[in-house]
Structures are given as structure tokens and as C-alpha cells.
């Protein structure tokens, strides 16, 4: 999902809730109202919320798989290749001792999968991102503690500062506020 850039007048409108279910309902009705570009901020993962705000991405498991396969391949062929490059007789064992090589192959499989997956996750999430418009929003500090936020982004087709605000207020949030647009790095 593409977030509003500095060109958009507003980053978006933010509605604050103090309960997870409320947020879910709000997200659902926003979705029904035809909003497509929105985001929600919660202190902990909430089942199904992401899909409501338009999360469609399932690349991550594949990244894990790729990492795993890559790691395993590197692991095995590294061992085989090196043993063949300077074939030394080690205790009469075969030069390419497949059973013996499996252990390191497995280790590198795990290493490849996990590091690929985790760094992939951070990348897809555009992290690290120290500065973000929402950080400027009032009460957002509580987003990690006990507040739940729904944001309708400024680059949504249906976005209109007044109408959208009205819409949000209809969802009985604790408060609704504007999020200033992202500032240019000076």
C-alpha cells in the first residue's frame, strides 16, 4: 500500500478508539463505505484487522522458502565443491560424504530461511522508519499501549477532508484528528 507523499495536502485523518472491537467495526464500516487506502494502529496484533484495512500481501512465506532453499544449496555445494577442489583422503571417508554433509546443509538451510524471512519482513514493512507522520498525531504515543487508531489516508480516491471527518465521527471514536502531511527531509 502506497502512503501519501508530501504532495498530498494531508497525510490523513485519524480516529482514536480505546477498544479493539470498536476499531474492527470502524475499519469494517470504512471498508463498506468504500475507503480503500487506510491504516490501523494497535498495541498488539488483532486477528483479521489487516485484511479489513486492505492487506493483501503473502510474499513473506515465499521469501522464507527461497532463503531456505538458497541456504541449503549453498551449504551442500560449498562442502562438496571444497572437498573436490582439494580431494584429501580423510580417514578413508568418501570425498563427497553426503550423510556427513547433511548437518551443515541443514544448519545453513535454517540460517538462510530465518535471516531472509526476518530481514524480508522488515524490508516489506519499510523498517527502519524513524520519522513518520503518524508519530506527530496527538495521543499516538498510546498506540503502543492502550489506544487503537484508524487512519484514512489522504491519497484515497474518496478522501475529502470534511466528508471523511464527518464519516469518521459517525463511528463514535474518542477523538478525530488530522495528521499533517509528511515533511520533506531538510
Amino acid at each position: 500500500m502506497r502512503e501519501p507523499t508530501a504532495k498530498n495536502p494531508l497525510f490523513g485523518l485519524m480516529a482514536e478508539f480505546d477498544d479493539g472491537e470498536r476499531l474492527m467495526e470502524a475499519a469494517r464500516s470504512a471498508r463498506d463505505a468504500g475507503f480503500r487506502r487506510m491504516d490501523a494502529y494497535t498495541p498488539f496484533p488483532i486477528e483479521g484487522l489487516a485484511e479489513l484495512v486492505g492487506f493483501r500481501d503473502n510474499r513473506l512465506p515465499w521469501i522464507f522458502l527461497a532463503g531456505g532453499i538458497g541456504g541449503a544449496a549453498i551449504g551442500f555445494f560449498m562442502q562438496a565443491g571444497i572437498s573436490l577442489a582439494y580431494p584429501l583422503d580423510v580417514g578413508g571417508r568418501p570425498t563427497v560424504a553426503v550423510p556427513a554433509f547433511m548437518l551443515i546443509t541443514f544448519e545453513l538451510l535454517v540460517l538462510g530461511a530465518v535471516s531472509a524471512g526476518i530481514f524480508g519482513m522488515l524490508l516489506l514493512n519499510h523498517l527502519p522508519r524513524l520519522h513518520h507522520p503518524v508519530f506527530g498525531a496527538p495521543n499516538f504515543a498510546l498506540a503502543s499501549s492502550n489506544k487503537f487508531f484508524l487512519v484514512i489516508l489522504g491519497n484515497d480516491q474518496k478522501f475529502d477532508p470534511k466528508k471523511t471527518r464527518a464519516f469518521l465521527e459517525r463511528l463514535k471514536p474518542v477523538a478525530v484528528g488530522e495528521i499533517a502531511r509528511a515533511e520533506e527531509p531538510e
Binding site: L88, V90, G91, G92
Partner: protein, 987 residues
């Protein structure tokens, strides 16, 4: 301090080749000219700064390193990487010295007066290894441990480097002045009061000089004292034949040998000769060509007893009774009547029955430490058995007989005590320490106005003398000596002295007031008279061979005077009997400062760096003591205190003490004060009458504990089959079947190396162990580390006993690296530091090793050794100079082990390729194989079915150590042959 230093040895190549490759002429000439030329001396000084008395300022290690570099000798700096180095070429290259290529010289070293023939290998003037001389009739290429270790004796940093007068360093010129006027005085009195005390003398030149001296000064007198000598046999032959004769036991001709407390194969000057003869007989027996039985009756286990077909444990005193029984059975009277117990009777019967079955091929010998009467009776018994001329021969004494015969030292002592001795020159012997206590040598010598001591070390006797005059080591001297069989060996220097020392021949001349002659002149003089005109040719030939061919003393067929022998009545066996033995590795103490021998495990007990009070398990049980508990052995007042070591197979009422330890040497002298910390001194219990046995002794536990360092704490075989036994040479020791394996079956192409060790021939003499140390730069680690289990010997000789500890079966088993084809160690190493070579070697690459020690953990044979500390960096330059340049000196933190002397293999291959030969069997001989007196070790190409090793491995006695581990070792063993002895239970 020399004893703690790692002493490192040197490599040898194929001897026959290297000798025959060159003409005798270039041989000695090159060295001669080298030795003579002044620039060679300087060159040496550049190499051995230690030769210059004022060399303290020079950085010895640096210089030595430079030398190493300039002469392209790798290995001095261990595993260090590339460092900037200088190269110092010669100024004028000495003839025939090729840097990087060794030169070989045939010579000898002396031991107990006898010549031990060797080929000395030198690298650019540094002797680096001694090997047996294959052409010598007595040794036939073998050596013993003492001979192998003589090399490091040469480089001993504790040798006296310059004359001492009243304990202060002085110069030879002052000595010359003093002795000159002394000589004039003596001329006046025809040598009144001059006494010469030597060790055993076989040197024709020395005998000639002594003769001259006594002719010139009739009132002078010569005495000789050698702590362990066969004087009793000489006295016996004087008694029986009317003339002193040497006995020569022909073990190769004996189908039956009955050794009554006689360690024929044990340590001593005769070990190599005897071992070689016995093994020839034994190998004939293996091939079904001859009988070879060895029956031994002894109070304490000896090497001979270990190899015995049948062994009887009998107290010292009853040897006489046993012999008397033999005599009686052969119709000889001995005046001794005493009943034999069951075992003894059985033994005597077997023995006699066997002797009778082999007329003319039987031999009975009684240990030389037993009284002359027993020896005499033994002569008669042998005569009855038809041994004389067959298995027992006689010649005139090889060791010159001093005027007072066996009582020579006693005579000197009594004269000294009566103040009849004015000048005493002690030549290369140490009576102040080795003489029996009741002679009070140390006290009476004080009554001699002028006392001179000449020797290699400032020892107990030197400390009592006004003058201490440093002697040359045999390897840097011109002299001569006879081997045990009488063959004369000319001893030529491998290197000229690098300390300020003199030859004993020159010294004897000096005593007579002559100062011009060199040692070489003196030796040549002897032979010039002997050989007349063809001197030059024969001299050259002799130097080339190292000995004078056919110079054995003529065989004698003496006639018996038939007066009957009456044995002394054996003492009532009350209390315990103490037996004294020379130490098996440092002898009477003369090798005390030889670190290789100090760290060499005693064949029985495997203890190092000290001696112990050896007692039987039964006695230990009675005293409730364990190894290391301190006991006090005493007899009327005199006492010896030492730690106990329990010896299975020893007679319960027998205590064995060994000589050579508990030295009374101060810190400034040899050993830097370490020597007197080691072991106890047995002398207080030794009496001039019967110096080898003491009856009626008591033993008491002190309650203290002393640490004994041993390399093997458990010797009970516990029902395992490490040493396998068969009852006949052609009996199968292990069923031959291909063992299954997960791993690919590899094809080996020739050459592919392997070893076969015959435990039926190994007499546990340790020669191989020292040879290995010398060859492979194996460091010495000292008593503490050995006690921790950190000894470095690549080749160890395991000793096992089996069955009843009171009278067990005993075995020796040399254990080098097995070079397993499916080696666990190789699989364990994470960095490829140990892998398998295409020719079947288990390679250990020191510079790749990072010291995980996994290889050693996985090694079922535990033949790998680890450099826990840096053992080599702080060696004094002398010991560094003794190192083998062809073997890497290992750094701290790396694993090392037997390599099958890979440096010899590669050297052989390279020279074979250079002269376009193919490698033939015998081209490569490992150091251990080369040294072995009994040919127990065979090495070669296991693919070639005709090679000696393949033929051995084809024997039905061939078996694999720890076959069940399935590591496919290349080192295999031939089983011990034990004839089932009636009435003796084998476990």
C-alpha cells in the same frame, strides 16, 4: 638447565648407500682437514658461540638461527611464519661439505670401557644422529638406548667447559706448568706414590700409554674400577683354568639357555650383541629351523625373564642351590645340599631334560653379580653339557686386567689410607659416588696430597680433587676401544671439541710431562707400530669401516684343572634380601645428566626421572603400601629411604634398589641442582664384599609419600588381548576376515607403507624409543609433566603382565602410530591438519594444526602427543644444534605423533629419483627399526608381496591391535609364542 630442556635429535638416511657412495679417503680426509684448518674452528665458533668461554655476550639463539638459515636447515624455528633472515655463506668452503646434505662417519662411542660401533651423521659439522654400523660383527647395525643417547651427551651444556683448580676456573697453561714440575719430581722418584685410577680400559692406545708410563716410572701403579663388571667370571676362570679369561656366550648357537639370575638381554654393554644373537636364533625358530628355549630363574623380573619360555621366581640365595642341583644331576659335587621346593624341582627337571636333548647346544649362565665359586661351578656344568667351544667361548680379557685384578680399588684405598699415595689421577670414573660405602673412598682420598680428576662433568669425585680436567666426549675425540667381542674400533671425531677440553690420551702424556702430541698422533702411533708399512692403507680402511676387521681376540681352548669347587654355604634366609642393580637408563649415574635417558621409562615399572624401592605385591600387601609410599630399607644402622614401586613377578622377600640416583652434587655442578632431588642413593647399603646383594635387611613404612613419575600406571592386561599369544610359530593368532565397512574400499598402489612389530622378539630395551627421540626432535618435558601424563615419546613400549601377580606372564609391546587406513583422528580434525597420504601415511601437518585435540580424543591407541607448552624455544644453543634439520620443530599448541619417519621416506624417494632407481625394499628404514637389536620392527611397502614387511604380515601370527575398532591399522603385530609349561597356570 639442560635436564629440563627439550633435547632434540637428528635424522639418518640409508646407511649402506651413504657409506658405499663415497670413498674412504674423502671420508676421513675431509674431516681431518676440516678439523685442522683454523677457519673451520672459526666457522664452528660462529655456529657454536658456546665454545668461546666469553660468548655470554653474543646472542646465541640469533647466531644459531642465522647458521640454520645459511646452511638451509629448516626446522629450527618451529611453526613460525616467514621472517626476514640473513644468510652467511662460508668464506672458504670446506671441502666435501654440502650444506643440506648430511655426511656419515664410522666411529664408536664407549660404554663401560667397551666400544659401541656407530655411524655418525653430521650436518655441516654438527653431529645430529648416531646409527648402528651394519658391517660390525658384534652389533650388526643395532644400537642400545645408551648409544643412541650419547649424541645428546656430546651437546650437554653442563659439561665442564674449561679446567678447574680448587674449584676455580683456570687455563690449561697453568695446569701444564704445574704438571710439568710434578712430572720432574716423579722422574726423580721413579713415580713413587703416583697412582692412576681409570674406569674399564679396552683401548689399545690407553693400554700402551699406561704400559709406557709404568715402564718409565716403575713405582707408579695403575688401578681400575668399573662399578658393574664381570670380574667374578674372570676370577672363576682363573680358578678353573688358571688364567683370567672373558666368557663369550654364543646365544645364536644355543637351543636351550638356562639363565640363573642372569639378565643376558638386559641393559649393559653386551645387550646389543646378546640381543642380536638371541633374535637370530629366535627367528630361526620362527621359521622352524631351530629350537630356542630360554629358561630363567630370577628373584626380580628382568628383560630376559620377560622373554623366558619358562620363568622361576627364586630368591637370590637359592640360585646357588639351584645350580648345585644341576651340578649334582650331572655328577658334580659342590658341597651344597639343600632341598628344592616343588616349583624349583620342576624347573630344574625341565631344564636338564631340555639340555640333555640338545647336547652341545645348551648353555647355563649365572649372573655375573654372583660369587666366583658359582661361576666356576657353572663352568663345570657347561663343560658337562658340552657347551664349551660351542655355546660358550673364551678369549683373553677384552677389558685390560689391572695389577690387583678385581680387588684393584680396594688395594688403592688401603694404600691411600696408609698414606702411600702422593699423586692420584682419576681418569673418567667417579668412585666417590659409585664405590661401595665401606671403602670410605671420599674420606681416604683426602689423605692424598695431589688429586687430579679428569672427566666430562664436575661430579662427586671432581669435587674432592684439586684439579678437575675436562675430557673430550667420544664423538669429538680420537681414540680406540674394543667392542664386547674384542673387535677394535678406531674412534674418530664427528666434530672437533667446541669446549676447551682435552683427550685422555693427551692428558696421560701431560702427566708424563709431554705436551706436544695430539690425540690423533697418539692413536696413530699405536697402530703404526702394530701395522708397520701398510699403516696408511689400513688406517684409511679402518676409518672408513669404523673398526678393524677380524680383530677379535683369538679363541682359547683352556684346560681344566680338576680341583673340585665348593660353594660358600648360602646365608640363612632370615629377613629380606636387598639386591642392587645398575639403573636401566642412567646406569651407575654416568648418564644422570642425559635428559633423553632420564625421561626414558625404565623397562620394568616404566618410571622416569628417578628410582624407587621395588618390592613384590605380596610384600606390599604385608606392609599395606601402594606405589609412592615411602619406606626405609635398613641393615645394621645403614639405611636407604625411598618410594615403593610394586613389581609383579618379584620374589616376595626381595627388595631391589637401583644405582645412579640421589646424587651428592651441588647446584653449581651438573644438573643445576636437579640431580640430587631425584631418587635415592643406594650406596649406604652397598658393601665391598658382596656389592650386589645384602641379606638380612629390614623394611619399615615411614608414612610419607613421594611422587613417582611413570608413563604407564596400569600394566595388568585384564583379560584383553592387546598382546596375543600362540603356542607354536605356525599357529593362527587371529582369523583373517575382511571386516565390513561403510566406506569405499580404496585401492592402494605401491609403495604404500606399513609396519610389523614382532612382540615375540621385542625385549623392551628402549633403543627404538631413544632413536625416535633423536630422529624426530622430540622434546623432553621433565618429571612434573610426565607425572601429569604429558610425555612426548612418539613410540612407547607398553608392558603388560597377565595372570597371578606373584608369577605372571610378562610382555613388551612397542606402540607407534598405527597409521589407520580409516583413521578416526583424520575424521575428527576440523582443519585438515591430519589427513591420509596417497602412500598410506597418516600425515600430521604441524603448521596447519590449531590444537583442538579432537584427533587425540578419537585415537583408540592414544599415540598422539600434544605440545602443552612451548617446549623448544628456550633450548640452549647446544641442544638446538643437535636437532634434526629435516624435521619441523613443533610449536606450542600443536599435536604431534609418529610419522613413520616420513622425512626418511621422502629423502629416499628423492635420491632414488635423482639417480633414476626405483625404490627397493630396505631403502627406507625407520629410526626405530634401524636401532632395534632384535629386529623386532619391520617396515616397508605392504603392497609389494616380496617386501620383508609383507612377508611378516603374511605370517599366521600376524594380528591387529584393537581389531574390533575396525580402523584398519597399517602397524600390525606378530603374536608372542608361549610354549605351554606343564604345572603352570596361564590365565
Amino acid at each position: 638447565m639442560s635436564l629440563r630442556d627439550g633435547h632434540n635429535g637428528a635424522v639418518g638416511a640409508r646407511i649402506g648407500e651413504s657409506l658405499r657412495g663415497k670413498s674412504g679417503r674423502t671420508f676421513w680426509r675431509s674431516l681431518d682437514e676440516l678439523a685442522g684448518t683454523e677457519d673451520f674452528r672459526r666457522f664452528l665458533e660462529a655456529e657454536f658461540p658456546s665454545i668461546a668461554p666469553d660468548a655470554g655476550s653474543v646472542n646465541r639463539r640469533a647466531l644459531l638461527k642465522i647458521m640454520g638459515a645459511s646452511l638451509a636447515m629448516a626446522g629450527l624455528a618451529g611453526c613460525g611464519g616467514e621472517t626476514d633472515e640473513e644468510a652467511l655463506p662460508y668464506v672458504v668452503a670446506p671441502e666435501n661439505v654440502i650444506p643440506g646434505n648430511p655426511k656419515w662417519y664410522a666411529t664408536s662411542v664407549t660404554f663401560g670401557g667397551y666400544a659401541q660401533p656407530v655411524l655418525g651423521k653430521t650436518h655441516t659439522g654438527r653431529p645430529v644422529k648416531l646409527e648402528g654400523n651394519p658391517d660390525h660383527p658384534a652389533a650388526k647395525g643395532a644400537t642400545d638406548a645408551f648409544t643412541q643417547a650419547a649424541l645428546i651427551g656430546l651437546y650437554d651444556p653442563d659439561r665442564t667447559k674449561a679446567p678447574l683448580h680448587l674449584g676455580r676456573a683456570t687455563t690449561w697453561s697453568t695446569f701444564d706448568a704445574a704438571i710439568r714440575e710434578q712430572a720432574e719430581k716423579l722422574d726423580g722418584t721413579k713415580g713413587q706414590g703416583l697412582r692412576l685410577l681409570t674406569g674399564a680400559v679396552s683401548s689399545p692406545t690407553l693400554q700402551r700409554q699406561i704400559g709406557d708410563l709404568l715402564r718409565r716410572w716403575p713405582n707408579a701403579r695403575w688401578h681400575a674400577f668399573e662399578p658393574a663388571q664381570e670380574t667374578t667370571r674372570r676370577d672363576a676362570s682363573r680358578q678353573v683354568f688358571g688364567e683370567p679369561l672373558d666368557w663369550h656366550l654364543r646365544l645364536d648357537k644355543a637351543a636351550v639357555i638356562v639363565a640363573l639370575d642372569d639378565d643376558l638381554l638386559g641393559p649393559g654393554p653386551r645387550q646389543v650383541h646378546h640381543g642380536r644373537m638371541w633374535s637370530e636364533r629366535r627367528q630361526a625358530f620362527h621359521n622352524g629351523k631351530a629350537a630356542c628355549t630360554l629358561l630363567v630363574a630370577e628373584p626380580t623380573p628382568s628383560l630376559t625373564g620377560t622373554m623366558a619360555t619358562e620363568r622361576l621366581v627364586v630368591p637370590h640365595a637359592r640360585i646357588a642351590i639351584l645350580l648345585a642341583a644341576f651340578a649334582q644331576a650331572l655328577g658334580l659335587q659342590s658341597g651344597v645340599q639343600a632341598p628344592l621346593d616343588e616349583a624349583a624341582k620342576a624347573f630344574a627337571e625341565h631344564a636338564l631334560e631340555r639340555c640333555r636333548r640338545n647336547p652341545g647346544a645348551a648353555l647355563i649362565s649365572v649372573g655375573a653379580q654372583h660369587a666366583a665359586e658359582l661361576q666356576a661351578l657353572a663352568l663345570l656344568v657347561n663343560e658337562r653339557l658340552g657347551a664349551l667351544g660351542n655355546t660358550l667361548g673364551f678369549t683373553d680379557p677384552v677389558i685390560a686386567e689391572p695389577p690387583d685384578g678385581s680387588a684393584s680399588l680396594e688395594a688403592l684405598v688401603s694404600d691411600m689410607s696408609r698414606g702411600q699415595v702422593g699423586t692420584l689421577l682419576i681418569l673418567d670414573c667417579n668412585p666417590a659416588y659409585t664405590a661401595p660405602v665401606d671403602l670410605d673412598f671420599a674420606d681416604v682420598i683426602e689423605r692424598v696430597p695431589l688429586r687430579l680428576h679428569a672427566g666430562l662433568h664436575h661430579d662427586e669425585t671432581a669435587a674432592l680433587c684439586h684439579w678437575h680436567l675436562p675430557l673430550q666426549h667420544d664423538l669429538e675425540a680420537w681414540t680406540d676401544a674394543r667392542a664386547v667381542d674384542g673387535t677394535v674400533g678406531i674412534i674418530q671425531p664427528l666434530v672437533r671439541p667446541f669446549y676447551d677440553v682435552r683427550s685422555k690420551h693427551v692428558l696421560l702424556e701431560n702427566i708424563a710431562g709431554r705436551f706436544d702430541a695430539t690425540d690423533r698422533d697418539l692413536v696413530q702411533a699405536t697402530w703404526r707400530t702394530a701395522w708397520g708399512q701398510d699403516f696408511d692403507a689400513r688406517w684409511r680402511d679402518t676409518l672408513y669401516r669404523g673398526f678393524i676387521p677380524d680383530s677379535v681376540l683369538p679363541e682359547k681352548a683352556p684346560t681344566f684343572n680338576t680341583n673340585p669347587i665348593t660353594l660358600p654355604q648360602p646365608p640363612k634366609a632370615d629377613g629380606l634380601t636387598v639386591l642392587f642393580r645398575p639403573d636401566p637408563t642412567i646406569w651407575d649415574g654416568r648418564f644422570a645428566n642425559n635428559a633423553w635417558l632420564q625421561e626414558l621409562p625404565k623397562p620394568i615399572g616404566k618410571i622416569v626421572w628417578g628410582n624407587a624401592v621395588f618390592i613384590a605385591p605380596a610384600l606390599a600387601g604385608k606392609l599395606e603400601v601402594e606405589n609412592g609410599n615411602e619406606v626405609r630399607v635398613s641393615q645394621d644402622g645403614a639405611a636407604v629411604t625411598g618410594p615403593v614401586w610394586i613389581v609383579p613377578g618379584q620374589e616376595p622377600d626381595t627388595i631391589v634398589l637401583t644405582l645412579g640416583y640421589g646424587r651428592r652434587i651441588s647446584g653449581e655442578d651438573i644438573g643445576g641442582g636437579l640431580l640430587h632431588e631425584l631418587g635415592y642413593d643406594a650406596t649406604p647399603l652397598r658393601r665391598a664384599a658382596g656389592p650386589w646383594a645384602l641379606a638380612g635387611a629390614e623394611i619399615a613404612v615411614t608414612g610419607n609419600h613421594q611422587d613417582i613419575a611413570s608413563t604407564q600406571y596400569h600394566s595388568a592386561m585384564d583379560g584383553y588381548d592387546f598382546v596375543r599369544t600362540v603356542s607354536a610359530p605356525d599357529e593362527q593368532a587371529a582369523e583373517k576376515k575382511k571386516q565390513p565397512s561403510f566406506y569405499p574400499n580404496r585401492k592402494w598402489d605401491s609403495p604404500s607403507w606399513g609396519m610389523s612389530v614382532d612382540v615375540d622378539l621385542c625385549i623392551g630395551c628402549n633403543a627404538c624409543v631413544v632413536a625416535c627421540m633423536a630422529e624426530n626432535n622430540i622434546p623432553v618435558v621433565g618429571k612434573e609433566l610426565v607425572a601429569m601424563g604429558r610425555e612426548m615419546h612418539w613410540l612407547r613400549i607398553d608392558r603388560y603382565h597377565e595372570g597371578d601377580p606373584a608369577d605372571p606372564a610378562m610382555y613388551f609391546q612397542p606402540v607407534p602410530c598405527m597409521h589407520c587406513e580409516q583413521a578416526p583422528c583424520e575424521m575428527g580434525c576440523p582443519v585438515n591438519a591430519t589427513t591420509h597420504s596417497p602412500d598410506g601415511l597418516n600425515q600430521q601437518i604441524y603448521n596447519r594444526c590449531i590444537g583442538t585435540r579432537t584427533c587425540s580424543s578419537f585415537c583408540p591407541y592414544k599415540v598422539r602427543h600434544f605440545n602443552w607448552f612451548d617446549y623448544t624455544a628456550d633450548d640452549p644453543p647446544e641442544t638446538q644444534a643437535a636437532r634434526n634439520p629435516d624435521v619441523t620443530v613443533r610449536q606450542r599448541g600443536v599435536m604431534e605423533k609418529c610419522t613413520y619417519c616420513v622425512q626418511r621416506i621422502r629423502e629416499a624417494q628423492i635420491s632414488a629419483q635423482k639417480d633414476g632407481r626405483i625404490l627397493v625394499d630396505g631403502d627406507v628404514r625407520t629410526a626405530c627399526q634401524q636401532a632395534c637389536p632384535t629386529q623386532a620392527i619391520s617396515f616397508g611397502d605392504v603392497i609389494d608381496p616380496e617386501s620383508a614387511v609383507s612377508r611378516r604380515k603374511a605370517s599366521p601370527r600376524d594380528y591387529t591391535l584393537l581389531e574390533e575398532v575396525n580402523t584398519r591399522p597399517r602397524t600390525t603385530y606378530l603374536a608372542r609364542i608361549t610354549e605351554s609349561v606343564p604345572g603352570k597356570a596361564k590365565s
